[in-house]
Amino acid sequence: MAYQGEETATADPGDYADQVGGTSNRAMFLTFRMCAERFALPVESVNEILDEMPETPVPNSVPWASSLINVRGNVVPIIDIHHRLGLVQSDKTDLNRLVVLDVKVWSELTRLAVRVDSVEEVIEADSDRFEVVPELGARWPAEFINGVAHHNDDLVVLLNCENLFRIDRRTGPFGPS
């Protein structure tokens, strides 16, 4: 699969910290593209990567959690992170993938899937190197972003799983019942 990039470790700017013997917080991240931007999620939360499959729409649901898929006998919701991040919906291509994640939503471990335009590779990086995005420079809701790092002359945006998938608890996603 595309995300098994071999050049990962050598090209990574985080290597520098190791060489000087710094106390690095090295971690693995899965990077992927959405609307030409490169995003990353911690690899521990990634369960598997799947090709697109038939979805079952859920009537009366919120627009960013509107369908369900069958992942090996489990019913898993698809969370539209294009919508969450305010990105335009991309055209469908053969590179589209569903990334299945296990994340905590309100301290409840939840399996969910996100649709990405294409999966790139797994990189190893120092999590300290992700810089905080200046409030004005961000095109995405700041609470959904943990930081930005340079990688191979490219910017990688690290997403904040906790906030990205958090629904408003006071009302639930569907307003007070």
Partner: protein, 659 residues
Amino acid sequence: MSATDAFLQETLEGLQSLEDTLLELEDTPSKDKIDAVFRTLHTIKGSGAMFGFVPLAEFTHHFESAFERVRNAEIELTSDLISTALEARDHMLSLLESNHDADLITTLQSSAKAVDLENRIRKFLTEEAQKSSSLAVTQPGRERPEAPQPKTFKIRYTPDPTSIKNGQRPDLLIDELDEMGDLQATIDASHIPLLSELDPHIMYLRWDVRLTTCATTEDIEGVFMFLDEHEYHVEKVHENPPKAALNKEKQPEPTQEPTTSKSAKPEKSATVRVPAARLDDLMDQLGELVIAQTRLEQIGTTSGDTETLAVSEELGRLITGLRDSTLAMRMLPIEVVFGKFRRVVRNLSEELAKDVALVTSGGDTELDKTVIDSLTEPLVHMIRNALDHGIETAETRAKTAKPVRATVGLVAEQSGSEVLIRVTDDGGGLDAEAIRMRAIDRGLLKAEDSPTLDSLHRLIFEPAFSTAQEVSSISGRGVGMDAVRRVVNDLRGSIDIDTKKGIGTTITLRLPVTLAIIEGFLVRVGDSIFVLPLSAVRECVEYSTVENERSSGRSMLRIRQELVPFIKLQDVFDIEGHPEKDRRVVIVGDGDARVGLVVDDVLGQHQTVIKTFSIFHRGIRGFAGSTILGNGQVALIVDVAALIKHAKDHATPKAREVA
């Protein structure tokens, strides 16, 4: 599961069976039951001390001593004693629950109730023996007066190396054995390594114990009940009569021994405790297996390969068997909660000064564990209600020539894929006029309304109708009849009321046997497939043939002289339908309420495993969950009760009259 967890669970179960046995003892005293009580107390005392539940163990010791006297027929088993025992059992439960909070324990132990309880127990301990027997003063627990000749046992105790980490206390075990009789223990220290290699967290010691006691092999094994079987070995030594000593070498066991060990052993391994989550996993995997088998069948059908089809059919048969056994594992007899109700009735009849007998039947009816767990509170409430509001006072009963002793019944029976649970009473029945007055008072009804008798009775389930605030000590646990209805709805069940003024009331809960699987009825709307619970489906009619009367935006169907409101699922779910000419209407019902659902097509029946929604979809009204169809597609399960409510809420005034 850690040893302490195992102890907690065993003790909770022990306390439960203690309560049941005590209540049974009151009705039908028997030696066996007294022995059972004594055994339970003895186990709790012994293992309690071992696991550091000292206050519990100490209290239990007194309790046990008192019961020792009952066992030896020194004091009589009076109703007073039973009451004390029941309270003592409750006290033990509190001690168990608050063991790790020292402050709480102190408060608990010094409370007036506890002191009173201890005094009462002491009274039983010192009460003069009813039989002039010299046995009366023997120290309880140490010697059993009526016991046969003491026997000698050889016990090899080899604690697991990790046992100290798990909180095992060999010293306490040995102490407990010591209490049983004459004990000689030898420590086998040959496994202790050099000091430099010694890990203080590892158990290196073993014990060889020689115990002469009147206790049975079972009793001795009871001391080790929280250990693994490989950690101990109990063997009877035969040496009391010289004859036996001679035979010792040649005859390994007397005939009696194998029978006792046989009867003890299977009991130990007859049940296996399994965390419920593992059963859920098993159920999920089974669901996947069903899907895989359906795929195989489809491959066979398309290719026309008979061999594939034969294998698939065989698989299907096996899966059905596997599914049935998996479901059976989740089943418990409803009997397990009946004991709780006996206690409720006993306490309440005392408190209300009403003489009431609880008659139960069908205790062996099996229900999914989850159903039983969530049903307990509502049933307690219904029984309270029956006693409090249903059963008349003794004077009233005398006037109406009813037997003084009233009867509250709790009946469970299986009927097809449903379990019916009935709570009956021979009291005064529901007073329709009183309900009507209160409903008007609470704004549930208008003075000019004239509802049917049944819908009038059903008002007792409305939240606003609850009488909880009035009878605080009895019904005041915040569980109104509306809570009963909510629980039953959540379990996808329904409630019927049958009441006759002056004769009594029967409230019937209809519940699905299992929550994990439902019989589904598949319908298509647009490109989506939805599952309706088959139990809610009343009938199907053709949409084109029904008379479609539109009255101010609301649609009604005329079915056999009756008007039934209908809704189009495509509108409710905002789906683009494919309106073909032969659409169908599925009439679904919840109790008396009925509503027609217009669908594009009816696809048939399908047994489905229910998957609960994730946090993202849990709040959506109209759905009860999702499921996976034979072709692997996800389908949504429709919550019929919610749709009926939706239809009612959107009803025009005119329609409401008919509904």
